[in-house]
Structures are given as structure tokens and as C-alpha cells.
């Protein structure tokens, strides 16, 4: 493997890993946000019904 081969391997792995982490993190983020919204809105609905 030539010099540029090693460089591409290193840069490739780093970019790939960070992108994947970011992607998975975003997914966790969106899932949590959706769940939070759902819980908050049902809470609001429950309060509304009470009043």
C-alpha cells in the first residue's frame, strides 16, 4: 500500500467513524425529542381535560 493509501485509510476511517457516530447520535436525539413531545402533549391534553 502506497503512502497515499495509508493516508486515505486513516482519513477514511476517521471521517467514517465520526459520520456514523453523528448519524447514530442524531437518531437518538430525534427519538428522544419525539418521545418528549408525545409525553408533553399528552400531559397537556390530560390537564386540559381536567380543567
Amino acid at each position: 500500500m502506497g503512502a497515499w493509501g495509508y493516508v486515505s485509510l486513516a482519513y477514511g476511517i476517521v471521517c467514517g467513524a465520526i459520520l456514523m457516530y453523528w448519524f447514530l447520535l442524531k437518531r437518538r436525539y430525534n427519538a428522544a425529542e419525539a418521545e418528549l413531545k408525545r409525553l408533553r402533549s399528552s400531559e397537556a391534553a390530560a390537564n386540559h381535560d381536567k380543567s
Binding site: 503512502a3 495509508y6 486513516a10 467513524a17 409525553l39
Partner: protein, 235 residues
């Protein structure tokens, strides 16, 4: 709802955007603008990844330390969230550091791995903070998990200088005469473009780090809120 979530989200977006710009700029400088090293050739470009990676890893561990200490002192969950997020990122960047170091090592020293001080030390750090994450996930009670992890966060960080010393002594006192001499970065006669590339890469990594940290922190924050809400409902 406190400071508008929209503002916070927009700020995160801006941070992310800046990070992207800096990272792309860093890539350009590292791969295209900076000249190859006189001794190491093109392979030296990996250092533009390796050095910032090490920096962000150590920054992470410092944040874990601060977060852990503050949590034990003030019992504010925010500090624990910070420590947890920083630990996760720390493990990521440490793993990357090791991989980069290994890939750099193959053409330079001829082997994928060598027990030189730097790589060994980084591997030990990875083990410690991976242990931190595993400790957290194996304790069911949130409070206990946070406390236990905080203790480990402090112990681990305080141990780092001792581990550093012992590993470096071990390697310098027992260095067998061989081709496996780790190359120190030659700072004399460094081409200005190389320094620029390094500087931009540092900035890029730091911005990226803080962007990811803010995301991860928020995820932790949301999860906590979700748990609290669920508990309220008896869900």
C-alpha cells in the same frame, strides 16, 4: 420553557455549521495545501488527524473529571450529564487516536502495533474510560450509577500522570535497540503551511467536538426528562 429551545437549537446548528466549515478547511489544508514531510513523506499527513484527536481525547477526560467532581460536590444532574457525554466522546476520540497512530506506524515503523509509550498509554486510557461507560450501564439505579461513575472519573483522571510516568519509564529504560524508535515531530524548519494545516485541524476538531458534545448532552438531558415524566404518570 426557559431560554427558548429554538434559540438553543439554532445555536447548535450554527456550531455544527462552523464545525463543518472548519473540518472541510482542515481537510483541504491537510491533504492538498500542506507539503509532504521531508522525512516521513505523505504519511505524515495523518498527524493532522492524530494530534487533534489526542487533544480532544484529553479534553474529554478533563471534562469527565470536572463533571464528576462537581456532581459529587453539588449533586446537580447537569454535571453528571456532562461527564457521561464527555466520557462517550472521549472513548470515541481515543479509539480514533489509536487507529490513526497504528496506521501511521505501519509505514513508519513497519508494524501495525508497537508497545511504545504513546500508543500504550492511549490504549490504557481507552480501557479506563470504556470501563467508565460499562460501569454506568451495569448499575440500574441512576443515582448510584452516576455516583459510582463519578468516583471512577476522578480516580481515572488522577491516575493518568502516574500511568504516564510508569509507561514512559518502562519504555525508555527497556528500549531494545531496534528500528522501533518512535519519531518525534521535528519542529525545526517546519513549513508554515504545515503549521496552518495543523492549526485549522485543531480548530475543526474542537468545534466538531463541542458540537457532538452538545448533542450528546441534550440527548442525556431529554432522556432524564422522559424518565421523570414517565415516573409521574406511572407509565
Amino acid at each position: 420553557m426557559g431560554r427558548s429551545t429554538k434559540t438553543v437549537k439554532r445555536r447548535k446548528g450554527i456550531l455544527g455549521g462552523l464545525a463543518l466549515v472548519a473540518v472541510v478547511a482542515g481537510l483541504c489544508w491537510s491533504l492538498l495545501v500542506a507539503p509532504p514531510d521531508a522525512y516521513q513523506g505523505e504519511v505524515q499527513r495523518i498527524m493532522y488527524l492524530h494530534l487533534p484527536s489526542i487533544l480532544t481525547a484529553y479534553l474529554s477526560y478533563f471534562l469527565v473529571f470536572i463533571g464528576s467532581g462537581m456532581y459529587l460536590w453539588k449533586r446537580d444532574n447537569k454535571d453528571d450529564l456532562l461527564a457521561h457525554a464527555a466520557a462517550e466522546l472521549g472513548v470515541l476520540f481515543t479509539a480514533l487516536t489509536i487507529i490513526e497512530g497504528s496506521i501511521w506506524g505501519k509505514p513508519t515503523w513497519g508494524v501495525w502495533w508497537t508497545w511504545d509509550a504513546r500508543l500504550t498509554l492511549t490504549a490504557i486510557l481507552l480501557l479506563i474510560y470504556a470501563g467508565y461507560l460499562m460501569l454506568r450501564s451495569s448499575i440500574d439505579d441512576e443515582q448510584r450509577a452516576a455516583s459510582a461513575a463519578a468516583i471512577l472519573g476522578i480516580l481515572g483522571f488522577l491516575d493518568i500522570p502516574l500511568i504516564h510516568m510508569s509507561v514512559y519509564w518502562w519504555r525508555t529504560l527497556h528500549q531494545p535497540p531496534s528500528i522501533l524508535r518512535p519519531d518525534k515531530a521535528p519542529w525545526e524548519n517546519v513549513h508554515p503551511a504545515m503549521l496552518t494545516a495543523l492549526a485549522i485541524s485543531f480548530v475543526g476538531f474542537l468545534l466538531l467536538y463541542f458540537y457532538l458534545l452538545s448533542l450528546r448532552y441534550r440527548v442525556g438531558e431529554m432522556r432524564q426528562e422522559i424518565k421523570a415524566l414517565r415516573l409521574e404518570r406511572g407509565v
